[in-house]
């Protein structure tokens, strides 16, 4: 055991304290917004004796991996509230639910249909399961350059191309709040008796208002995974997995849930799920209707500001896609700012912390944890910023706007690609090689190259252009190289 003065430090504690000193208004996840959207009994319990509640599988406290007491009961109440047949508490995030879902649907070499804009956890599920992805290209919003999702037509086409597929993955909604034609998509899949796994990380609130897009369970999804922490007030890292119908092998699913979650799950995390479920059951409808009313109002106000472009329901009219209005996607190019620049100004000058920013836009997330004061502060700040920077007709910030990226041929499964030796090669030299890793530019956040795919000239060209206009590219190292199988 070495010791020196530095061991006196606790860098994470320090960073958290520094962060709190800034007193930011939260327009990001987690949805409880500094404890404003929390079950009150839970809050009191944790404030009084947090560590006393950090217990383990003791008599009377049940076992997450074999529930037959309070955890089983809490999960049943969850199923009842959300309309599932069976609900599982997750302490390793939505990520682990997606992985367990894919593992329960596909074995090595079996096919699964996934839209191209899925979350990293789907890619991980593919690697762990050994499944072969069959990608559906996704539509891109002409106004914002954002990935919308797969169209009904493209999904239908893909289902026909791969009749042996074992499942369909859908996202409801995207990070930026765009929901696909979920009911029709699920119907299509069920017509082929294909189970549908829905990544509802950003849509756990949909069942609490009829003016929000339909929820995954309502649309008939067989397996729906929700990030309760993102919008419904539980602690970060807690999620729910819902199941309904006969298409999911629940024995397999339960088996894999044990593998992707610790054998020592935190009772603090599980209690926070139980509390969030109760709070939402008792107040969810009222809270979400109220905040939706507020959101409509500030949307009107932001829309009235010259030079700030807010993604609106109208922008999606006729596309088949729906918008979750609680996610505010603002493009500030009309006032000569990039999304990153606007985020920086909001953060540093107005102490407003957005959820995400890239060249094109800023994303702000509203939940019932936000007060009217928070919303007013946001609008006032945007008014001042719009005034200060002024509307400019000659837009100096180039919008990154791309067509749909090409999809290469799947030469080997992602599992095999991940397990084989790789080398790093400069982008232009990779044409014809097999990719070892995912390469994805933000915006639009649609992967251009996925593990196991042959890299095309079009893909290299697409990435080169994205790089030139300043997109952040995941999977491209500082020297501009990507990983290919050696």
């Amino acid at each position: 055991v070495q010791r020196n003065n530095k061991q006196d430090n606790a860098p994470i504690l320090q960073a958290l304290n520094n962060y709190l000193e800034k007193n930011y208004v939260s327009f990001h996840i987690p949805g409880h917004k500094n404890g404003q959207l929390v079950d009150q009994e839970l809050l009191a319990m944790f404030q009084q004796q947090l560590f006393c509640f950090d217990l383990t599988e003791l008599p009377g406290l049940d076992d997450l991996h074999q529930p037959e007491g309070p955890i089983e009961e809490a999960q049943k109440l969850g199923a009842q509230l959300f309309g599932a047949e069976e609900t599982f508490f997750l302490v390793n995030g939505t990520s682990c639910g997606i992985e367990a879902g894919i593992l329960s649907l596909c074995r090595d070499g079996e096919e699964i249909i996934v839209p191209r804009n899925v979350h990293q956890s789907v890619a991980y599920g593919l690697i762990l399961s050994g499944a072969i992805p069959r990608y559906v290209p996704v539509e891109v919003c002409p106004k914002t350059g954002l990935a919308l999702g797969p169209s009904l037509f493209k999904v239908e086409e893909t289902l026909k191309l791969y009749p042996k597929a074992k499942g369909l993955v859908l996202v409801n909604p995207t990070y930026q709040g765009v929901a696909p034609a979920l009911k029709d998509l699920v119907k299509l899949a069920h017509h082929a008796d294909l189970p549908v796994l829905i990544d509802e990380a950003h849509g756990s609130h949909f069942c609490f208002s009829s003016s929000l897009p339909p929820s995954g369970l309502e649309a008939g999804g067989d397996l729906v995974v929700q990030s309760t922490h993102k919008l419904l007030g539980s602690l970060t890292q807690t999620s729910l997995l819902h199941v309904q119908g006969r298409r999911i092998n629940r024995i397999r699913l339960k088996g894999y849930l044990k593998m992707v979650q610790t054998s020592s799950p935190s009772y603090l995390l599980m209690a926070s799920l139980d509390g969030a479920r109760r709070n939402m059951a008792l107040k969810g409808k009222k809270l979400w209707e109220e905040i939706l009313e507020e959101v409509r109002e500030i949307r009107r106000q932001i829309n009235a500001l010259p030079g700030l472009d807010l993604l609106d329901e109208e922008d999606l009219k006729g596309t088949g896609f729906l918008l979750d209005p609680t996610k505010l996607v603002i493009s500030p190019r009309g006032i000569g700012l990039s999304g990153e620049e606007l985020a920086k100004i909001l953060r540093e000058k107005y102490r407003i912390q957005p959820e995400y920013a890239d060249n094109n836009h800023v994303l702000l997330i509203v939940t019932p944890g936000n007060s009217r004061e928070d919303l007013n502060k946001l609008v006032v700040s945007l008014v001042l910023i719009a005034k200060e920077y002024g509307e400019i007709s000659d837009r100096k910030v180039k919008k990154i706007d791309f067509p749909n990226p090409p999809i290469g041929k799947q030469e080997v499964s992602p599992r095999e690609a991940y397990n084989r030796q790789f080398v790093l090669l400069p982008l232009p030299e990779t044409i014809g090689e097999i990719a070892a890793e995912l390469v994805c530019p933000y915006p639009p956040g649609i992967p251009v190259v996925c593990p196991g795919e042959k890299i095309t000239a079009e893909a290299v060209d697409y990435l080169r252009q994205a790089r030139e206009v300043g997109a952040k590219i995941r999977g491209l190292d500082k020297e501009g190289r990507i990983a290919i199988l050696s």
Copy 2:
């Protein structure tokens, strides 16, 4: 959204409150013992504004999956304290570290050497990786019937039998505190240039006293996973993974750590690791030396009680195994009680909560979170119980004492066994079939049948006997059936 009165309930909150009302003295994990062994700044922060610290990857707060700020710094301080080259914070328990370790060592079809008494997470690592286990039989303690671990001789033999193996897994110590001849075992493996993965879930405190068995890192382990929450005061579900040397492919390891952990890791969990590390760095040596002194004293007192048999260092003399004295393994058969009966009396009459009990023994875990008062209460209770039940020469509680269980032939990999269809068959009818699941009696806690193995007549006989004397058998359903490949 359905609603009824039951949604007013929060069963997990209720169970936690009920549990706390009983005011048990904790001789179980987590090691902080109701917040007695916690970094004081962390405790104050969490008490004041827990939910405010439940943040996410915001500017200045770094990213667990790509650390270059406070998380990186905190991990480096962890590596410095424990003597690793690189340390990773885990928010999905030691389980996920073991899985990522096995995934980084083995690909589909590659061999790995594992002792027969490994934790479930090793079995999961085998399933996820597709590796083929080559089991080392483990020694059984003649006095207690407990699994001790693999002997030097048996490991050497197995290494010779499987020269193509990609790694060796070791446990340091077992749940009951038995540590193997770690330094010699690691040397053996390194002589064959084989990386060693050490499951140190129950040994994170070893580096804080020279009178404890050697730590995995000290013994030269390449990859060491510790349950910080079990003994060093962090929140449940938090662990550390340490790496040293050139035998581990760290790029692969980091890749798999992303897969087995959520993309939304909890800052509360990470902060508690940071705090526990600091607390242990500043006070660990003193705290563990002090509690070890107390433990030696109460061991003397318990040993003096007639009819209570405490597993002692002397019992292991000449076996090559060492004992962690902070784990108290008490057999009450000399006073006519089973382990389960003693645990019940301790719990219900004396408000002392043990960690574990089975037919043979009770396990109590002591950490610096226990006060002298806790320890006195335990001794006084045991004195009263020994007096009340009296020493009996005619032991009416049958000790479950078995030879080493047989090991069947590995017909298919655990991954394949797990992925194929299975049926449930009554135990006597399974001879010659291939097992789909693990079957393990407690005691001795050594699997008799593992996934993918051919079931032998000896195995069936062993399980039948274990069942007759009242062992709990995991993998055997209520009707006495086990899962085999169909």
